[in-house]
Amino acid sequence: MIQRREFDQNLEELRQLLREMGEHVERALRESITSLQSLDVNKAKGVIAQDLKLNEMEEEVMDIGSRLIVTQQPVAKDLRRIIVAFKISSDLERMGDLAVDIAKVTLRLEGQTLLKPLIDIPKMAELVELMVEESLQSYLDENTDLAYKMAKDDDEVDHLYSQMISELYSIVVHHPDSMQQVMLLTLVGRYIERIADHATNIGESAVYLVTGHRPDLNQ
């Protein structure tokens, strides 16, 4: 029989860890974009250094979760809470890596000037940051409506992404020497778009936690 009080405390610990990881990812995304906008190398290095913490938190989630499975043999929703914690922590860890990839673009552009002020990239990033926040909130509050609402924003992200690609394409046609920077900025768009996909995964995890069924929010 499950020792309920200690088990509940441990589950709460998992929730808090994921909340923290989510805040960490939002911050990493925000700072990687501002580092890119101002080509601030120090800020970019800060994002890269901070990622270590996120990896440690993911390992902590794995440790607590596997210990709970071994010692408590949870079933039904209790088991889903742990499965979902594993999945969400791994999504968040990947999101952190993608923020690091954006920061590395800033490092590569060191000493250059941006072809033009960034417009679509920060707009996308802002939207994706909201998606990250809402996906985490849908998990924390077990709010499936919010998960579905958040997933709809992904369409707008995809729209901004393709708009950005067209724009960068026309730039490279007229300024072939800008190829390297255009490619790097295209990658940044791709990274942000990938973060949004992981946010959608978190929304799916939230729905699975509540209902026991896996929806596909990534259509």
């Binding site: 029989m1 499950i2 020792q3 309920r4 088990f7 043999q73 949870p74 079933v75 039904a76 929703k77 209790d78 088991l79 209902t211 026991g212 069924h213």
Partner: protein, 251 residues
């Protein structure tokens, strides 16, 4: 899976106390059905209803219908001994007779008129093989059953129960007095037996129900709260009381 047991609107009273309330349940053939629930929920009472063990408790009154293989088991023309041959039972504490291993298994067939030595030998061997005990005891069948370990004694009781070729095997917490290794052996055995018999088990060990049963029925206060495919019941129970119970929030 076809139901072999069909229970309809069953009420059971011990004097004034109603222990089972309007139970409706179909139990499928050649499958393992587990009854779970907190102490006093009625699960053992219902199990004992299936071979009329409750008849022995004074003041017991039954309403409703219990059909096994389409036949009403509480009708006047049913001979309880014949019913109990069809519906065998294994109890919590291994209860071999203070006789030899051989005589324990041969007891039922002899009672039902088998006298031929060769035939009895064959039944004893076959039953002990089915109970996965043969290899351990074949060289000293004349030894007292009480010399066996608890786990072996319980497998002997299973062999004794299947020696009369029942259709249904009832198990009332049959592993709760055993160590984990013996429990595992019985669980494996039960999994094999379901190819031949319908098994209905009461267990306090929810993980055991989750591990080996095909269907699980959750009881509370004399009522069935939920009855479902075991995987579904332990993954996505429909009733909040089931979820609370299997998650250890009460009971």
């Amino acid at each position: 899976m076809e139901p072999i047991i069909h229970i309809n609107k069953l009420n059971l009273y011990y004097e004034q106390f109603q222990a089972l309330k309007s139970i409706c349940l179909d139990i499928p053939e050649k499958a393992i059905t587990a009854f779970i629930g907190p102490s006093g929920c009625g699960k053992s009472t219902l199990l004992r209803t299936l071979n009329r063990m409750n008849d022995m408790i004074p003041g017991t009154r039954i309403e409703g219908s219990v059909q096994i293989g389409g036949k009403e088991i509480y009708s006047d023309d049913v001979e309880v001994e014949v019913l109990r041959k069809q519906v065998g039972m294994v109890f919590q504490q291994p209860n071999p007779f203070p006789k030899s291993i051989y005589d324990n298994v041969a007891y039922g067939p002899r009672l039902h008129g088998v006298k031929n030595k060769a035939q009895l030998d064959q039944i004893v061997e076959q039953s002990l093989r089915q109970a996965v005990l043969w290899d351990e005891v074949k060289d000293f069948l004349k030894r007292s059953a009480l010399s066996l370990s608890g786990g072996q004694q319980q497998r002997l009781c299973i062999a004794r129960a299947i020696a009369v070729q029942p259709d249904i095997l009832l198990m009332d917490e049959a592993t709760s007095a055993l160590d984990p290794i013996s429990t595992l052996k019985i669980e494996e055995l039960v999994q094999e037996l379901k190819a031949r018999y319908t098994i209905v088990m009461v267990t306090h060990n929810m993980h055991q129900a989750a591990r080996i049963s095909d269907r699980t029925v959750f009881f509370l206060n004399g009522e069935i709260v939920e009855s479902d495919d075991t995987r579904t019941l332990f993954s996505t129970p429909q009733d909040a009381r089931t979820e609370d119970y299997i998650s250890g929030r009460f009971g």
